[in-house]
Symmetry: C2
Subunit: 206 residues, 2 copies
Amino acid sequence: MTNGESSISIEVPSETRKEAKGKAPLIAGGTHKHERKGGWKKGIAILDFILRLSATAAALGAAAAMGNSEETLPFFTQFLQFQASYDDLPTFQFFVIAMAIVGGYLVLSLPFSIVTIIRPHATGPKLLLLTLDIVALTLTTSAAAAGASIVYLAHNGNPSANWIAICQQYGDFCQQVSGAVVSSFIAVVIFMLLIVLSAFALRRKH
Amino acid sequence: MTNGESSISIEVPSETRKEAKGKAPLIAGGTHKHERKGGWKKGIAILDFILRLSATAAALGAAAAMGNSEETLPFFTQFLQFQASYDDLPTFQFFVIAMAIVGGYLVLSLPFSIVTIIRPHATGPKLLLLTLDIVALTLTTSAAAAGASIVYLAHNGNPSANWIAICQQYGDFCQQVSGAVVSSFIAVVIFMLLIVLSAFALRRKH
């Protein structure tokens, strides 16, 4: 009987090893599936990085175009020279500051985006980026919309309020400013794509 | 030896049952934890619903305040009566339309928010709401910022562009319009909270 008991004690670990061997391919299959899903997430992370680079270009381009917009008319009187610059209008000053902040944030966010490429399953950096992206989206949209409303006014004026259209005199200035506003709206669209992508990458079933 | 073997064959299932019994509380504990996490998600869903109601009130209030803003001055000449209304300014028309759209969207989104309260683990409605919320946030922000830039101009004018401040004549009109813009910025803040909450509720580890 002691011999029989010893045969039991040998048999039980051998069954455990067989179970362990039986489980091994299952675990390997799980890991493989995991890696495939990780690849899908990595693709989204790389797309996020590319979109972020484009948004940086759009935001900094908008800030530079607005910041360099000025026009001096080729005639002047004895007392004043006719000159238009972005800092004549407080909205355009806000535009330049907001776009510079957004551009700076985007440059600083690039390393975090690289972290999400290297570690596709880390949710911490993604949540941080998503939250800050929403703030940046709001800032970009407000600058773009405020700029657009003033550009519209500069082009068309408003007869009810006796505001005259200044673009008849300052055509080049208006074109530069309009270009900056268009560039900022491109940044808005890219930000919306970025946030929707991040939300899809964060969802539970993946 | 056959008796010994039979004792083995009895012993093994008894161990399996013991294991099964040992696992049972573990599984139960898991279910309990799952329910507790479901409760945490349900709390976020209820907060989402309340915030959505507040945003509806803010957006519809902004649209109503802007839509009803008009002022007729108590004096008139032979040919014209001095009157200011929101539809004198295209930006304010856009403001009313955008806020009405956002208010309508928010009312329509309330049933989906109730669905996420009832089924806290369904990701489909949450992703839909998150995507549409981002679009609504952008629309609200652009209306609020464009309105704010025109309100600023109405209050302060712009000497460089020869745009005069109209609030000296139309004080009541300006106050109503400013109130509408403030209300729309409240809606923007609530939208940002909503989107960050949704992103946290959607994340993988929960």
